[in-house]
């Protein structure tokens, strides 16, 4: 559909939040938690963090929480009975202040969760979530969205995108039906858009490499030593995967207490050695370099190939979160430069 351009003042945005609350929607926005900016529930604009580049963790947990119950079961002599699967009522959520890269992350996730199997739990959650992104006026050395087909004002994945103008008002782009629904809760709060050049309010994120080229090249590097070289310092923790807005790997766990139990889905990471460990003790990805290769291959080769979408949005969270500075952008640049 055609993007509608509107504008909304700070005051109106505050009102909109109240309206949404009154409408029974929970609002999640970046808030300051000690020395981190994370997503959290807010009831007023004042609770929202000021001038942040990105939240520490991505917004993915709105539709793909770090763990979630899939169903309950009961084991008795007469067999196993399964209950409350797929009938959980998810709340209506509004994600306010997500960055375009985060919003775009849901594109990657959705591609995975609706690929061969339609994951209702994920899609139900996402359908109940409205994404109001705020375009980036600032970036840091870790940002590289522009190298992976992204953009500080990228509207892909957002339902509404706000761009802050010098007046303090926001340029509001209404992108999807969901966006319109939100706007229609209080149309009076939305004024007509001033004639402004959106670009001029956006951060300049230099393009470091071309994702397309990487995708083409990386396959030929499967046996290359670059993976060992790059991952020598890698600890094999899951920090990168868990803060990543596009990482979708999960583990299924049953937790039983006597006859009752629940089945859970929990985040998992291809960086863990346990991820591919066989019962026999054999591990097809025996060392960290192979796991690191898998991570990049998956994001830049397998996903584009099979799902026609990149597994990376260039937010740079993994690099920020990494305890040993595994800077993904830097690594991708080497890859783009290495001779196959």
């Amino acid at each position: 559909m055609e993007i509608q351009k509107k504008s909304i003042s700070k005051a109106s945005l505050q009102k909109l939040i109240e309206k949404l609350n009154a409408n029974g929607r929970k609002i999640i926005a970046p808030v300051k938690k000690e020395n981190l900016v994370e997503f959290g529930f807010i009831s007023g604009l004042e609770q929202m963090a000021e001038d942040y580049i990105l939240t520490n963790q991505s917004a993915k947990s709105a539709a793909f929480p770090k763990f979630e119950k899939l169903f309950s079961y009961e084991v008795t002599k007469n067999g196993i009975t399964q209950s409350d699967s797929g009938n959980t009522e998810f709340p209506e959520l509004v994600l306010l202040g997500v960055r375009p890269c985060d919003a775009d992350g849901f594109t990657s996730l959705s591609a995975i969760f609706t690929w061969d199997y339609h994951d209702t739990q994920y899609t139900d959650r996402l359908n109940k979530t409205t994404l109001i992104s705020i375009s980036c006026s600032k970036c840091d050395d870790y940002c590289f969205c522009t190298s992976v087909d992204g953009h500080p004002g990228n509207t892909k994945g957002s339902d509404i995108q706000l761009t802050r103008l010098e007046s303090g008002d926001y340029l509001a782009e209404i992108i999807t039906e969901k966006g319109i629904t939100v706007m229609n809760l209080a149309p009076e709060l939305f004024a007509n858009a001033p004639a402004v050049e959106k670009e001029k309010y956006l951060a300049l994120v230099p393009s470091r490499f071309k994702a397309g080229e990487i995708a083409g090249k990386i396959k030929s590097l499967f046996e290359n030593d670059i993976w060992i070289e790059q991952s020598l310092r890698c600890l094999g923790c899951g920090a990168c995967a868990f803060v990543c807005p596009a990482c979708a790997c999960f583990d299924i766990q049953d937790e039983s207490k006597g006859k009752n139990g629940i089945r859970l889905r929990c985040w998992d990471s291809c960086g863990f050695s346990l991820f591919t460990l066989h019962t026999s003790g054999h591990n097809p990805r025996e060392v960290q370099s192979q796991r690191w290769r898998q991570r990049l291959m998956h994001k830049f080769s397998y996903m584009p190939e099979r799902l026609d979408v990149l597994g990376c949005v260039g937010c740079g969270r993994c690099s920020r979160a990494c305890p040993v500075d595994m800077n993904i952008m830097e690594h991708l640049i080497n890859i783009s430069e290495v001779q196959a």
């Binding site: 084991v75 008795t76 002599k77 207490k257 006597g258 006859k259 009752n260 026999s280 003790g281 054999h282 025996e286």
Partner: protein
């Protein structure tokens, strides 16, 4: 899929009086995996056991839970019953409904509920049980006896007489130990050597006993039934095969003024010597540090005089390796020397001697040929003061424990003295008289009443010399601490019995534990007095604590019977409830990382280091290995292991975890 049978016992009315056994059986029947659940009046009775056996066959059960009395009572009974019915005994568990439930709670709903919880817990556990086979360890039927004193001799003879080989190692040139130094023995006053030397000879001649005298233990490895021991046979510089023991060398040796160990320094011996006339073996050794040839490079008198040319100055220590099934430690004890006692002159008064020295003075074969003469000037002492508890029972300056034998030998000394010096007076300072033992009390009374030993209850505070006399200052605590002063000609200290030299090092070599006083520690103070915590190593005699001859001999026979029992089978079989380190496919081989933090927790030194090498013998990984012959199954290593790489049969991680879950959750 598990097929569990549950058998609830009423134990007459012991359980059913407060627990609704029928209900328990009913509820249990509903548990997943339970295919058979009944209650009955007496499960341990023949019909009861038959019920179980039949159920096992008919319902082909994979596990059995008997809910009855304490497993400490009837677990063996029911496990046996199961195996008779073809079910591995370790697939049978007991739930304690009597001691832990019906007997301690009133008849009410919750008591039955508790019973149900207890049964459910064991049902869930038994689902995790696995069939286990008893452990079999081959046994080398040769015993090693270390120490050739009376205990070692007794143990060796007893073992040898059961038809098993014995290797005896004695570090001195002759066996015999302290007993061979004694004059007469209490309470019978028969001559020590007269009763001991025949036994010594028997050892030397016994076809099942190999004696290595003048030898020490170099190294020990292995475990019960399978020890490998290195013995260092010290160079005697005499060819034992050629030597006839004629003794010519010892008489001709120019070096004659060496203090004799056997005579406790009261007599002399040459540099080539046999410790005493009845020595076994009766062949001399050259005491290199004191031999003129070895020190100055010339002499060789012995070589010249030896009729059989048996002297070998160039003889080297020999290392002998033997395979051993069981070991008896009989390394004996020693006594504190007089120089231990400042108040008695640090041993600088020649006429203040210790008990063993008095034994030599009183011995017919001793330096004075049995006449009591005081060391300083050879005068016959008119007044002799015997001081009991010299160093014993003295937390302040000496040792806390009672040396056990001093009361008796002091009384004996007083008697012997009186018998030899009729006009003399023996005084005995004592704290208490401990004469526990057959004919012991009577013996002490004889010393006091017939031989008029003057017993004074009290400690001696000081001894000093004054014109040729030893002034003994003490107090008589029975005469409300009246000061006593005796002008004695000689003082005999009943010095405390202590662990033998090198006991600690030896214990460490053998991985056996020892107490604060370096005496070897028995496995259990009451129930396993002759065993050590290291399987296959036993204790005999005073190496465990000071004790008299009959006790030492009894203990030696006890140890011998333990060895004989161990040797009665070609294999020793043990309960398989022991720990094991897991193994898995390469490249991991085991989740054990070889940190070996578990090694020091094992009370039995059962944890060894195993190396995993590739085809070319390059080390891939080091990991812990638990020796099934040594592990006793305490599981301390299991709880310690961080990577959960050790588990223990019968109480596996998954079993105990399941028990906790089952006890607290609904099923």
């Amino acid at each position: 899929m598990a097929r569990i049978g549950v058998f609830i016992c009423h134990c007459g009315e012991n359980i059913s009086a407060t627990v609704d056994c029928h209900k328990v059986a009913g509820v249990t029947a509903e548990l997943p995996g339970v295919v058979h659940s009944v209650d009955y009046k007496y499960m341990c009775s023949d019909p009861g056991q038959t019920m179980i056996k039949e159920a096992i066959k008919e319902k082909n059960l994979t596990g059995v839970v008997v809910a009855a009395c304490s497993p400490r009572m009837h677990e063996p009974t029911f496990r046996k019953a199961c195996s008779e019915a073809g079910l591995n005994p370790y697939l049978c568990e007991m739930s304690n409904l009597r001691e832990h439930c019906s007997w301690v709670h009133p008849k009410e709903e919750v008591t039955t509920e508790k019973a149900i919880d207890l049964v459910r817990t064991l049902v869930e556990k038994v689902k995790k049980n696995t069939p286990l086979l008893p452990i079999r360890v081959p046994v080398t039927k040769t015993a090693l006896v270390i120490g050739g004193g009376v205990a070692g001799i007794q143990a060796s003879l007893d073992i040898a007489n059961t038809g098993h080989k014995v290797i005896m190692v004695e570090r001195e040139p002759s066996i015999g130990g302290h007993m061979s130094q004694l004059s007469e023995t209490f309470p019978t006053l028969d001559c020590s050597q007269c009763i001991l030397t025949p036994r010594m000879v028997e050892v030397a001649q016994h076809s099942n006993i190999t004696l290595y005298s003048y030898s020490e233990i170099e190294a020990v490895e292995g475990f019960i039934g399978n020890f490998k021991v290195k013995i260092r046979k010290k160079a005697k510089c005499v060819d034992e095969k050629l030597c006839t023991g004629c003794g010519l060398c010892t008489t001709k040796c120019p070096q004659k003024k060496i203090l004799s160990e056997f005579e406790q320094g009261l007599g002399f011996r040459p540099a080539i010597y046999v410790p005493f006339p009845q020595a076994v073996p009766n062949k001399p050794v050259i005491d290199k540090p004191n031999c003129t040839y070895f020190q100055k490079g010339k002499c060789k008198v012995c070589e010249i005089v030896c009729p059989t040319k048996a002297i070998r100055f160039d003889q080297q220590d020999e290392i002998i390796e033997v395979e051993i099934g069981a070991i008896v430690m009989a390394t004996g004890f020693n006594i504190l020397k007089t120089d231990f006692f400042p108040e008695y002159g640090y041993g600088k008064y020649k006429d203040v001697i210790d008990g063993l020295q008095f034994e030599r003075l009183a011995s017919a074969s001793g330096p004075t040929l049995g006449e009591i003469k005081r060391p300083s000037d050879g005068k016959v002492p008119e007044k002799v003061v015997f001081i009991a508890c010299a160093g014993s029972r003295d937390p302040a300056k000496g040792l806390e424990y009672c040396s056990k034998i001093c009361c008796m030998y002091t009384a004996k000394h007083a008697m012997l003295y009186k018998h030899k010096v009729h006009h003399g007076t023996p005084y005995v300072f004592y704290m208490d008289i401990r004469a526990g033992g057959k004919m012991y009390e009577e013996f002490v009374r004889r010393a006091i009443e017939e031989d008029h030993a003057q017993y004074i209850r009290g400690r001696v505070s000081r001894i000093y010399e004054k014109n040729g006399k030893l002034i003994v200052k003490g107090a008589d605590t029975l005469m409300n601490a009246r000061p006593v002063e005796i002008e004695a000609d000689m003082v005999v200290l009943a010095t405390a019995g202590v662990a033998n030299e090198g006991a600690e090092e030896l214990a460490q070599k053998f991985h056996i534990s020892y107490d604060a006083y370096k005496f070897f520690a028995e496995a259990h103070p009451k129930l396993r007095p002759v065993e050590t915590n290291t399987a296959g190593i036993f204790l005999a005699g005073a190496c465990q604590a000071p004790k008299d001859i009959p006790d030492s001999v009894a203990m030696a026979s006890g140890a011998a019977s333990k060895v004989a029992a161990l040797f009665s089978n070609d294999e020793l079989t043990r309960e398989p409830l022991i720990a094991e380190v897991n193994r898995c496919a390469p490249p991991l081989f085991s989740t054990c990382t070889g940190c070996f933090l578990c090694q020091s927790v094992c009370p039995y030194n059962a944890i060894e280091r195993e190396q995993i090498n590739d085809r070319n013998g390059n080390l891939i990984k080091e990991l812990s290995k638990i020796n099934p012959g040594l592990c006793q199954g305490c599981g301390t290593c299991v709880a310690l292991c961080k990577s959960k790489s050790i588990d223990i049969f019968g109480y596996t991680n998954s079993q105990v975890h399941t028990e906790v879950m089952a006890l607290l959750n609904e099923y």
